[in-house]
Symmetry: C2
Subunit: 337 residues, 2 copies
């Protein structure tokens, strides 16, 4: 399997990206990495790894660039070249830590949607806080700000597929994020989405779920429109971060007794940080396009890059995309009959 890497995307590029790729290249000998970016800068962090090659380019997309315009005009940008490689079957997946909007655009315009999927969505896998080694998948967290009930229905199929193939959950439960658990709750979109989900016997729909229960593992897959999903994901991040700061100040701003207490609790508090660190479950996936397109945080470090490559390896090895193509093309043919 071959992964095209935008080596210049993100705040710590190319250093963190290349160091993470080197970590992954040592473990996954079956992956060939093609790194797009500044050859001299990239080479500093390489040590002659046989499964990493570089394709040089001077151009890159910046975080403040307009997504659609930059993808169309910066034809030699590292992200664009990496996406082109996937399109031309020179690579099987695309990885970047750069401009999210631009990556979504590259995924949609260059790599392209799977036939039958109207709106690919952005999917993340987050830790269930109350159960060790348990996760849930949330989709869409921001690919589509305006969403139809039919899109949410497709997210449920896509999320189920991801949970089965990549996370190894046998019969993933699907919940619809809503403002109450009763069937009649919601806005116009969720009320209609509920009926579509209820009628689809190919998924294991368990009804409406509330945002309060997400981190308790209320469902394996939670679907929502991209606007709400984005707000919920950012609220989780913001709240968790604020609380970690509160804990820090509870330790350091409360005199020697609290400081000693914090010292004694150091190991267990760092275990807590591990639970919260969702980068080990990989990056966010633009799911529904013809190849894995995966993004990590712009501020990513090498460990997060490594875990994202592991996730892409899982996606490629499981052939989840092939299965999606087959499923949706069969559906289309069914409908055309």
């Amino acid at each position: 399997m071959r992964i095209a890497v935008d080596a210049m995307g993100g705040d710590n590029a190319p250093k963190a990206i290349v160091e993470g790729i080197v970590l992954a290249a040592k473990e996954f000998k079956d992956i060939e990495f093609i790194l797009y970016g500044d050859e001299v800068a990239i080479n500093q962090y390489l040590d002659g790894e046989a499964n990493i090659k570089i394709v040089h380019t001077d151009e890159k997309i910046n975080s403040e660039d307009d997504p659609v315009r930059s993808i169309r005009r910066k034809k030699k940008a590292s992200m664009v070249l990496a996406a082109q490689a996937v399109k031309n079957k020179e690579a099987d997946a695309l990885f970047s830590a750069g401009n999210t909007g631009a990556l979504l655009t590259a995924g949609l315009l260059i790599i392209g949607r799977i036939k039958g999927i109207d709106r690919p969505g952005l999917l993340v896998t987050l830790p269930v806080m109350t159960k060790e080694n348990s996760t849930f998948t949330l989709m869409d967290v921001g690919a589509n700000a305006d969403t139809k009930p039919e899109n949410i229905h497709q997210y449920a199929i896509l999320g189920t597929e991801y949970a089965k193939f990549v996370r190894g959950v046998e019969h993933p439960t699907v919940g619809l994020l809503n403002n109450g658990t009763e069937e009649n709750k919601g806005n116009d979109i969720t009320k209609r989405a509920f009926q579509l989900l209820k009628a689809d016997k190919s998924i294991h729909f368990i009804g409406n779920v509330e945002a309060r229960e997400l981190l308790n593992g209320v469902a394996d897959v939670v679907v929502t429109d991209g606007f709400t999903g984005n707000a919920v994901l950012k609220t989780i991040e913001g709240t968790a971060l604020s609380m970690m700061q509160l804990i820090k100040s509870a330790i350091y701003d409360n005199g020697p007794k609290a400081k000693l207490g914090g010292l004694l609790m150091k190991d267990s508090l760092s275990g807590m940080k591990d639970v919260l660190d969702y980068s080990k479950h990989g990056g966010s996936v633009l799911f529904g396009v013809k190849a894995p397109v995966v993004k990590t945080h712009g501020s990513t470090e090498k460990e997060a890059v490594y875990f994202t490559i592991k996730q892409i390896h899982e996606m490629l090895a499981s052939k989840v995309i092939d299965d999606l193509v087959e499923q949706f093309e069969t559906k289309n043919t069914d409908q055309e009959k």
Copy 2:
């Protein structure tokens, strides 16, 4: 000032409600409380307070009752009688810890909207975690699942009014919750709401804000549609609760060293709990109706009831509703000219 109290609403009613009212009655001698509910049950918790009287009724609305139907049919329910009292000018405000949907319905159908306000919204005041004694107001957290840009614009005016009159913020900043900070970000609704907010010189609009920044005090007032606001509020609650559980298990499930550490940090951790406890900023207000209609959590304890009464006292003393009536009626007259 007179407050009509639904003494039978909430999981711990009437005990927690009446005990909280007794606490408040001792401090606020200028309030007359009218408690609606089971006279015998209520009387157990009273000690002849001069400013508390009871109006007996056997009927009440349960948490699982259909909101609209129960308000229409249970004519003698404690919540309905309390709302009627406000409508008939026998009381100035309505307080309940009962069925939220029913309370919203009672507010809208019995007490009624202020002329010129299309959709009253539900408003909460939450702590800013990074600054002591600092708060922000979020609206709408769930009165209206389907929202127009014009409704969000009115929430901005309502939230500004609340921040000025009740929280004492001189020039409250207003942020629009969105999926990015740039002006062109958002879904169809937020893009149009942005333009309405930008054009209104009577409020101090600072642009789009992201959910990640809410608890950092990014704006004094944050406005959003009721579906997203509901999801964001419940996500904050769920995440904070999960993290408190993680801290607990970091202390208790990690051997004697961590337990001792936790003991030494006890005071500072309980300070942390104080920051998170937003019940001291009062309950959620259905804002935009002709009188304060305020709700606390169904699982509320007497302290939360006390703080909510304090909040209603503030609302009545500041005459915020009178000012709203004047503002919106003037606007209407302006438009009619």
